[in-house]
């Protein structure tokens, strides 16, 4: 990369350079046949699961939650893993998405599909509003994490306090309109299961494409050394801002899904800091540098937490306490996450997009 001046042509040349770099690998295409077969089998199983006769409703529900948390974990990866922006306030974006589509639907009868787009735009706008001054004035690392904690608290307090708009702590129930796909409502849980699956798959593909794009490589350069990246002609603030806004929009879409799935939202369920930490945990457990990290984390943690909260229902909070312990143990013994153990091999690095 010889681009010393950040002119458009130089930037384009830098893009081309990165694209041609041999380090890039062939990504998923480099996976061996067993891995590819396993991936296809897992996907097929996920697709066919609801069609198994007599499939208990409870298992489908867990499936939906796995897709939901995997979507959130993957969205976090784009900002936290690729860009090094460790947001501990991602629930703010989930809340913006959930509340935007829900309020538009309940008060103005706007279809939640449109509401979802509006929520994504609002969340991305909020991310830019917070991110721009932070990145502009070099607030990163722990300090950025603190700002996002404060952001999560602000959105939480506003949703709690502005009860004339948001219903306050009582939350907002959504009317069930029967089978009405245009309004994001379905008669069967099976349909919701497939919607969750598609949302997860789209998020995953977007995260994978970002990782393999020139933008993704620039983002990782920024994460690893901001100053060097800036010297290489990368507009550091703009790259971080784009990643943060993309991540926020993805989380907001998941927020709308949650509202349509549960048909009830309140600040405690969609904006609480607990959710923010769970999102981080999904990605970190799986391996936050990989687009697959959030998915691996959700596959492990969601069933565990469902099992624990059922088995220990007399002790509310014990499942979350165990989340905390898992996070501590991870940081002590496996800070790179489960997929991180594969990063030693060059081929695996390419497959998992480390």
């Amino acid at each position: 990369m010889t681009a010393a001046t950040p002119t458009p042509t130089a930037a384009a040349a830098a893009d081309a350079d990165v694209a041609a770099a041999p380090l890039r690998g062939r990504g998923l295409a480099e996976a061996g046949r067993p891995v590819r077969l396993t991936a296809v089998a897992v996907l097929a199983a996920a697709l066919l699961l609801p069609l198994v006769p007599g499939m208990p409703f409870y298992y489908l529900q867990i499936g939906v939650l796995i897709f939901w948390y995997a979507t959130l974990g993957t969205s976090w990866t784009v900002a936290g893993g690729y860009g090094g922006m460790h947001s501990i306030g991602h629930a703010a974006f989930v809340g913006v998405g959930a509340y935007t589509s829900t309020l538009l639907y309940v008060d103005l009868h706007v279809s939640p599909w449109l509401g979802m787009l509006a929520g994504m735009a609002l969340a991305a706008g909020l991310a830019v509003l917070i991110g721009w001054p932070c990145f502009r004035f070099g607030i990163r690392g722990d300090y950025f994490a603190l700002v996002t904690v404060a952001l999560g608290q602000v959105v939480y307090e506003i949703a709690n306090g502005a009860s004339f708009l948001t219903g306050g702590a009582q939350g907002v129930p959504l009317p069930y309109a029967g089978d009405d796909p245009l309004n994001f409502q379905f008669e069967t849980r099976t349909a919701l299961y497939y919607v969750a699956l598609v949302m997860w798959l789209v998020t995953l593909v977007v995260a994978y494409r970002i990782r393999r794009s020139g933008f993704g490589f620039e983002l990782i350069a920024v994460r690893d050394d901001e100053i060097a990246a800036a010297r290489g002609g990368i507009d550091v603030s703009a790259r971080k801002l784009l990643a943060f806004a993309t991540s926020a929009a993805m989380a907001a879409a998941a927020g709308t899904f949650y509202a349509q799935f549960i048909l009830f939202i309140d600040p405690g369920s969609v904006i609480a800091i607990t959710l923010s930490v769970q999102i981080v945990l999904m990605s970190v457990l799986g391996g936050m540098n990989s687009y697959l990290g959030g998915t691996v984390g959700a596959i492990l943690l969601v069933p565990l937490s469902q099992y624990l909260s059922t088995a220990l229902s007399g002790r509310p909070g014990i499942d979350l306490a165990i989340y905390g312990v898992v996070l501590v143990l991870l940081m002590l013994y496996l800070p790179a996450g489960i997929l991180g153990t594969l990063r030693g091999s060059r081929r695996w690095r390419s497959v998992i997009g480390w």
């Binding site: 603190l146 981080v280 509310p316 989340y323 940081m331």
Partner: protein, 289 residues
């Protein structure tokens, strides 16, 4: 008149913020990590006060020495068992390990004590006093005065004792301190223990004023960060001033505008100030993150 009592209430609130923040500041300044578990440790300390109160039936203020020692011990163990082992790893590990610890502690409190609001009653301070024309409960006067005293003690400890000097030396130059014969790792553990012990002081002072439930430490923990960052790293009096400004600001906003929104107001203020003055209101230190 309303405004005056709001300011007085804000001073009491700010004094407690200052105390929790002083512990955070010490750990931040010496060990160079942000202890996200500080709020949860305060919750643990408050439940400690509650347990002492229900076991002995004595006035909650008497729990102070016990809770302080127990919290100091817990802090020492946390440092030795967890923090010390990630100090040479990435920042992310340090950030998330204290976060995970805080989450585990908070929800363990929920699992053990349940979600109910618990209270401790003080016979010693259960009356209203009039100070300069403002009526306040004696308990909040004690909380404010006790916090100020504890912060003063911390200052004297850091500046007038050999151990305090060693702690300051390590905060400034760990390598040179080690060359001068200071056991840096021990000083780290000590600073962490003192920082945690301060949550014990805060707990004993505030227990009679606040109801105790698993979320109680959250706001104080986050407010303490805000105080430390606005006050400037390592500055005891900067943090105390910032704590008072925030306490009074929150209390006045709650009285004049809206109680519900007063916390949100402080967070917005924090985000704005953080971006406008990244090195704190009074700080001159360059920010290295």
């Amino acid at each position: 008149m309303q405004l005056v009592s709001a300011v007085a209430g804000g001073i009491a609130l700010g004094a407690i913020y200052a105390l929790v923040a002083a512990g955070l500041n010490l750990v931040f300044g010496v060990v160079k990590i942000i202890n996200f578990a500080q709020g949860a440790l305060l919750t643990v300390a408050l439940y400690g006060v509650y347990v002492f109160y229900s076991l002995t039936g004595a006035d909650p203020y008497w729990s102070l020495p016990v809770v302080v020692l127990v919290m100091g011990g817990i802090g020492y163990l946390i440092h030795r068992g967890l923090i010390d082992r990630v100090l040479r790893k990435e920042r992310t590990s340090q950030l998330l390990i204290t976060f995970g610890l805080g989450m585990a502690l908070k929800y363990l409190c929920l699992a053990v004590f349940g979600p109910d609001h618990l209270g401790v009653a003080t016979a010693m301070a259960d009356r209203v006093v009039t100070l300069a024309g403002v009526r306040m409960t004696l308990a909040s006067v004690i909380a404010a005065a006790g916090s100020a005293l504890a912060v003063g003690f911390l200052y004297v400890f850091l500046h007038r004792t050999r151990i305090g000097t060693a702690i300051r030396a390590v905060a400034q130059q760990p390598d040179s301190a080690e060359l001068a014969g200071i056991d840096v790792r021990r000083v780290y553990a000590l600073a962490f223990a003192v920082g945690t012990a301060l949550t014990g002081v805060a707990a004993a002072l505030m227990a009679p004023i606040y109801t105790i439930q698993p979320d109680v430490g959250d706001t104080f923990g986050v407010m303490a960060f805000i105080v430390v960052i606005l006050g400037g790293l390592g500055s005891v009096f900067g943090a105390a001033t910032a704590a008072l400004i925030i306490g009074i600001g929150q209390s006045v906003f709650a009285t004049l505008v809206d109680v519900q929104m007063s916390t949100a107001f402080i967070f917005v203020l924090f985000i704005v100030l953080m971006i406008a003055r990244p090195s704190g209101l009074f700080g001159r230190t360059a920010r290295v993150a």
